[in-house]
Amino acid sequence: MTQTQDTPLLEVKDLRVEISTKAGSFYPVNGHNFTLNKGETLGIVGESGSGKSMTATSLVRLLPKHAAKVKSGSIKLEGRELLDLSEAEMRKVRGSEIAMILQDPQTSLNPSFTVGEQISEAFRLHAPGPKKTMRARAIDALRKVKVAAPEHRVDCYPNELSGGMRQRVVGAIAISCEPKIIIADEPTTSLDVTVQAQYLRLLKELQDDTGMGIIFITHDFGIVANLCHKIVVMYFGRIVESGSVERIFANPAHPYTEALIGAVPKLRGHKGRLTTIKGQPPAPMEPLQGCPFAPRCEKADSRCFAELPPTLDADGDGEHLASCWRVLDQ
Amino acid sequence: AMASEKVVIAVSPLGADSNLYWTTTGAFIFPSMQTLVGNDAATGKYDNSQLAESWEHNEDFTSWTFKLHPNAEFNGEWGPVTAADVVHSFNIHTGDDAKLSGIKQLKTATITAVDDHTVRFDLPSPVPNFLFSHAGRGSLVIYSKAQFEAEGIEGYETAPAGSGPFQYEGREVGQSLTFTTIKDHWTGVSPEFDEIEFRWVSEPSTRFAMLSAGEAHAVTLPRDLREDAAEAGQSVLSSSAGAMQSTMLFTGQFMNPEAEETRDARTYAWADVRVREAVNRALDRDGILEVLYGEGVEALPVYTMDPRFPGYSQDLADRFDADYGYDPEKAMALLKEAGYPDAFDNAAIPLVVTSLAGNPEFAQMAELVQAYLDVVGIQTEMREQDWATGNTAIRGFTADFVTPMRNAPVRPAALGVQIFFTDQASPHLNVGDPEINDLGAKLVSETNPALRDELLQGMFTRIFDGYAHIPMAAVPASVVVNSDLVEGWSFPGSTSSGLSHYELIDLK
């Protein structure tokens, strides 16, 4: 799993996104640092409201217009700074270089247009051509994502398809222009286990074919464990731990990560009590001192309440980072 | 005038929109139609400007003979106007579907064509005012018999041939009615424009706007707007003679001594003459009339009495100020004497106001009257109802203190007084006074002009002295013309719309 490339596919440095509302402002993305290499899958996990989707949308610069904006940091796609691009240039990047798959297959297709129209729109924007070839390419794309009878389905409206098929159409749109990165924001939460398994298999195959990088946002540890190479764990707008899947599952450095893993029942194995995390995450605008997880942390001491822990190297090789004072103690 | 000019007159829509004059209570068919007798534009007097060249009657007014103009002819190739046409018109005007009020007299008559150009009407009883049925409001209009025979009633419905100075051109139902000028009319009168169009526009302000925008040459407007129009530089033209009288009437048999037991205190508060006088005394007529009609409108001593007709009593006119003058103290004293309001169960006297098309003054009049009555302590209650509902209420005697009404005084006094006060009237209008009824009955058979005058005066005096109603004003008809387009126009105010003699419209 060692990627020996000089420039990573995507490099995010010190990214901060600010949301300002009438009630005040806060940072749902607060100093993110991570990289994604070719052919790699990065999982972003964390509980609801921790800023996962904000991270994803800031990468394609589609933050809610008036409410949110990137405050600082850099997003480099193969060394090119995305934050400096004009809106028109950015539009070209979207779809053709970075694609995104959204959470809900029920609602992420436009109900008023046929599947074919929606797929070929993506083509047309990046490689215009006559209607006929567009249709042919849409059918191709559908075939690629293993939709049965694509010639027929291409003229269907989204409501005529099942949930799993719809999600595959969304996938077809995403891969239509062979992007370098696909960002998938909880793409399977509303799918059945069996359908989910099919879909994940499909994504893996596509990744193997094209070597694209995938950023997978989820709170399902099953997916992370099965699909991802690297994990980023978010809590309250911050990355609290990052590293390879194996290392983090085997040896979580942050108590939050540890608790999350322990809270999920295993399909096989013990039936003892599950670990729980007491309380709830703080409200976005709550004034905080120290580690935001400290109030819920079983292992917090006075230092945790006093000072925000910096990002520390957990294993000493720079591959496994965590922001917890306990790392220093190990 | 310009080469091809169309005169546009915007008026509020009449009750009915029809070419069959006898079935309506008023219509704008007149420019193309004629009656036997005309009205002088300047004085309103009967003249021979219409189809009859001359007329005469026998001693006791039971037989009237009319001689037609020998050269009169229908427009549109329907030939000369003959006695046969008059007979034919008489027949359709007295048929079952006839609704015209003015032809009531005709119903009892028999008609004879004496010769081609002479007709005679024979009446069972003396009718001194018979000319009224042939001139002005609600009179016999002469249709072409030839057209009827050729085309039937549909012919009249689509384009009735008349003998007037204009030819019927067409009608947009609910919208307009158009006539074209006849270039060589048999009377020799020739309007200086080519077309005339009547437009039905309900909203006075829209009519005013049409006038101001130059879209209409002439419009009828409520008094207030007339004033405004005059201020804006338009000309207000009034009819040469009074066109309308307005009054308020009490209803019920309040002067009938025999009805004493059956009337209840509420409905018959005014059965007491003191209350009636008090009501009259409470009103500042000068103030009201000035507000409502402007200057120059005359107070009316007795409704249906008019200087142009027999029965006019100068004495009553002279006494009017003294007997009906504004005197709230006296009014209050009278009411106190009569025991009002304490002696009545119900203090509120409903004041029913009907908002009649074209008479927005009535609403204001009612408000003013109510305010004045309030001052002397008579509470009234206002019901704004449309004409029909108001009439229903009156007929059912559910409206007690009643409606401002109007009627054209071109109706001879002798007719009017019967219609509004005696047992000849509709039941609800009959005040039930034996004396008035008695005089009225005598009047019917009396042919001596002097005696008739005396009888009428007697009736008027009785009404006047008994405070049998609340007379308001004699009002001329008026029209507002665009002063940039129209020089002048005189009309006597003898039709239901008040407008006539369109051929006399003088353009700039």
């Binding site: - | 507000v291 106001v353 009612a366 408000e367 305010a371 309030d374």
Partner: protein
Amino acid sequence: MIDFSVNRVSAMRFWVRLWSLPLVPITILLVVFIIPAFFADFIAPHDPYVPNLRARLQPPVGFGGTWEYILGTDRLGRDILSRILHGAWYVLAVSMIGIAVGVVVGTTLGLIAGYARGWFDGLVMRLVDISLALPAMLLALALAAAIGASFLSVVIVVGFALWAYFARQVRAEVLLLRNSDFVARSQVAGSSHTRILFRHILPNVMNTIVVLATLQVGIAIMLDASLSFLGIGIPRPTPTWGLLVSDGRDFIATDWWISFFPGLAILLTVMSANMLGDWLREQLDPRQRQI
């Protein structure tokens, strides 16, 4: 599925909400509508009914008029300001009672129809159709003629014109609510239909009713004005705003103030009521669509 989480969000921002109270429309409503409605007797400078023939057609201050008659006088010399102030009560009464009639009838029918479904639902929906298919104005004319134009007839017409909207909206909402989990839970708990209807469903449609009612104030006032225009409104001399505007309409080009100021009162009141309604809707139920 109804998103109940909005309640959580909006409650959290209670103070924020208070801060964002739409002060302008509320102030206008108070000054133009509510206060005059109750205190006209004390604040009106003149008697609204008594004509003063000596002071006819005074223009308003600033247009050649005097402070005696700030907004001018009408054709009969009555003070426009006083008439507007006194008229407020009638406008308030007509709109409130009319809306109340609409709310009570519409909500009751909508509630039962949505909950019981079946033939009753079908019947109510047909009635709604019928009521929408009859232009309110024509019905008003016929009704006014039938029972006579009066305060009562205007209230009935307003109520008739509005009930169907309430019935429809409430029914639609009840249809959603009756399938909601909390209703199911209450059924599981063994609650009776009445208990479910009045304890669980009705409180949850209250928001909608309040919002809709606020938005209907404008429609009610407009309807009242139109009825006056047609001569079948509250009878004169009651100075309802509709009548004032309607009476003055002939003089828009000349003595404009007669209808302008009552018109302005209507405009301000309706606008403010609508703005308040919008605000309420946003606060109470952002998903509610405008009808």
